[in-house]
């Protein structure tokens, strides 16, 4: 069964559906607490800040900065065999949430901690898109 391996594709479930539906429509949807106004990630039923059960999905700005990154050389999954070396990054969103993602539209050598980023969406399956980030130009 050694066909060309593809990258793994997430399978949305009930609680994550608003996130993936948003990504499909080009919107970064995150949970926001109506009680304490904090944003959180990835998903849960109670706010991790104040523990209230008033989390609502809201569109986030999609803007942030590069907290840190790595360039992966080791192939841990056959779907990434032709992708190495690829970057994995942590992005600090202005909403106060830190997301792991990939940075696109820039060479790995040019990545710099602190650089400004904005969200883009990449189709990874027939029905699934995921947020990635690219440098803000200008």
């Amino acid at each position: 069964m050694s066909q060309t391996a593809t990258k793994p594709v997430p399978v949305p479930d009930q609680i994550s559906a608003p996130f993936f539906d948003g990504a499909r429509a080009g919107r970064l949807m995150l949970q926001h607490c109506a009680a304490c106004a904090a944003w959180s990630f990835p998903v849960r039923e109670r706010c991790p800040h104040c523990f209230a059960t008033k989390l609502e999905w809201r569109q986030a700005s999609g803007r942030g900065s590069l907290y840190t990154f790595t360039v992966m050389h080791q192939v841990m999954n056959p779907g990434f065999a032709s992708a190495v070396p690829y970057n994995v990054a942590q992005v600090d969103l202005v909403e106060g949430v830190r997301m792991t993602s990939n940075i696109v539209g820039i060479s790995n050598d040019a990545l710099r901690v602190g650089m400004l980023l904005e969200v883009v969406f990449e189709d990874v399956g027939e029905h699934v898109s995921i947020p990635k980030f690219r440098p803000v130009v200008g």
């Binding site: 997430p10 999954n77 994995v88």
Partner: protein, 391 residues
């Protein structure tokens, strides 16, 4: 009861380690426990407590008792805070002994994830470990597999903030390899230079192969009892004078920085206070070293140097043989063997007893042991001594 023994380690068993195939984790566990009982001068029927460190494959479950043949245990549990668990187990064992719930408690870690067709990387981060359902599926979609990229990102953050260099990471690796060459238990005993470190392939930048721990098949068991009971047994007791945990929380908030400010800080403060000693009393450190970076950041958070100065602190080779702060004297997880926090715990017992042979450190009154689990999410500290009290 500050400054007093909370319990004593009276037996240690360490099996052969590494690419040893065809045996189950529980078989390694049985061997390690047998070695520890012989070491202590105890028999299986003396044991009334069994604490098992959950391993990643999950086969070291509570039913391991049946395979091992223990009867009428009054304390039994499987525990997991990942790589910090040995410290949690030691707390539970000592508290249970002092409450009279058990008298002789076996603590064991055993694992056998390696096979002829599955190496170190795949055993810890292969596709079998990455479900795709829901938000968890994002990790696989981004290629964020296992601990390597996460620790690489932590190390990169530290380098960005403080100017830490990969050469400084390499000096840690080289020092530990020198120690490993003095230990009959170590898996990696061939010489290693800084050039070898720099020439080793990248796993996840900035981490190279020689910045990363081994993965081992094998087991370690220790036997814990009261300080009073320990006096009559075969080996010099190793007293546990202090222990603590700290779990700082996840890193998915921009106001948290566990990647560069770990739970070692709070955990260490509590443990030192409990033991009634200070850092200056520590003759050797046995620190969790899943990566070279982990050693560096742990030393900072224990206060051996200021935050951000871990790189310059280690750069003179003070952690290696002959250095001012001998650390990971069995080679650690980088060059010795990878048994989660049972790696530093086992070497602490050897050093506190004064049985290190060629690698024995000169000052062994107080030994500092750290455990670290997840992505710097869980921390444990233990302070060991050949003395039953600090005063």
């Amino acid at each position: 009861m500050p400054n007093q023994s909370k319990g004593a380690i009276v037996g240690l068993g360490v099996t052969p380690m590494g690419k040893i195939y065809g045996r189950r984790a529980v078989d390694f566990a049985a061997e390690a426990i047998g070695l520890a009982l012989d070491d202590a001068g105890l028999t299986k029927s003396d044991v009334d407590g069994l604490l098992i460190n959950a391993n990643i494959p999950g086969d070291m479950d509570v039913r391991s008792q049946m395979v091992l043949g223990f009867e009428n245990l009054t304390l039994v549990n499987v525990m997991s805070a990942y790589g910090s668990t040995a410290g949690s187990m030691m707390q539970y064992a000592c508290m249970a002994i002092r409450e009279g719930l058990a008298n002789v408690v076996v603590l064991v870690y055993a694992d056998a994830p390696l096979s002829p067709t599955r190496g170190a990387g795949q055993s810890y981060a292969g596709p079998h470990r990455f479900p795709l359902g829901g938000m968890v599926g994002l990790r696989a979609a981004y290629g964020n597999f296992g601990a390597n990229p996460e620790y690489a990102m932590a190390a990169r953050r530290h380098m960005h903030l403080y100017g830490t260099t990969t050469e400084q990471f390499g000096i840690i690796a080289v020092g530990q390899r020198k120690w490993a060459q003095l230990s009959p238990w170590a898996q990696m005993r061939s010489p290693m230079t800084l050039e070898d470190h720099h020439a080793s392939r990248f796993i996840a930048e900035p981490l190279r192969l020689l910045d990363c721990c081994l993965v081992s098949n094998g087991a370690v068991a220790v036997i814990v009892t009261s300080a009073e009971r320990a006096r009559d047994l075969r080996q010099p007791p190793v007293n546990v004078l202090g222990y603590a945990q700290c779990a700082p929380g996840d890193n998915l908030r921009t106001d948290r920085h566990p990647a560069v400010e770990t739970g070692a800080r709070k955990s260490g403060e509590i443990a030192f206070r409990m033991a009634g000693i200070t850092r200056d009393d520590i003759g050797t450190c046995q620190l969790y070293d899943c990566y070279t970076y982990t050693v560096l950041v742990t030393l900072e958070d224990y206060g051996f140097c200021a935050k951000g100065e871990g790189g310059p602190f280690v750069a003179d080779g003070k952690l290696g043989p002959g250095g001012a702060l001998p650390t990971n004297t069995g080679g650690g997880q980088l060059s010795g063997y990878y048994m989660w926090a049972f790696t530093p715990l086992s070497e602490a017992v050897v050093q506190a007893r004064g049985q290190g042979g060629e690698r024995q450190v000169p000052r062994n009154d107080f030994v500092l042991v750290s455990g670290n689990g997840g992505i710097l999410n869980y921390h444990s500290t233990m302070i060991m001594s050949r003395h039953a009290s600090a005063s």
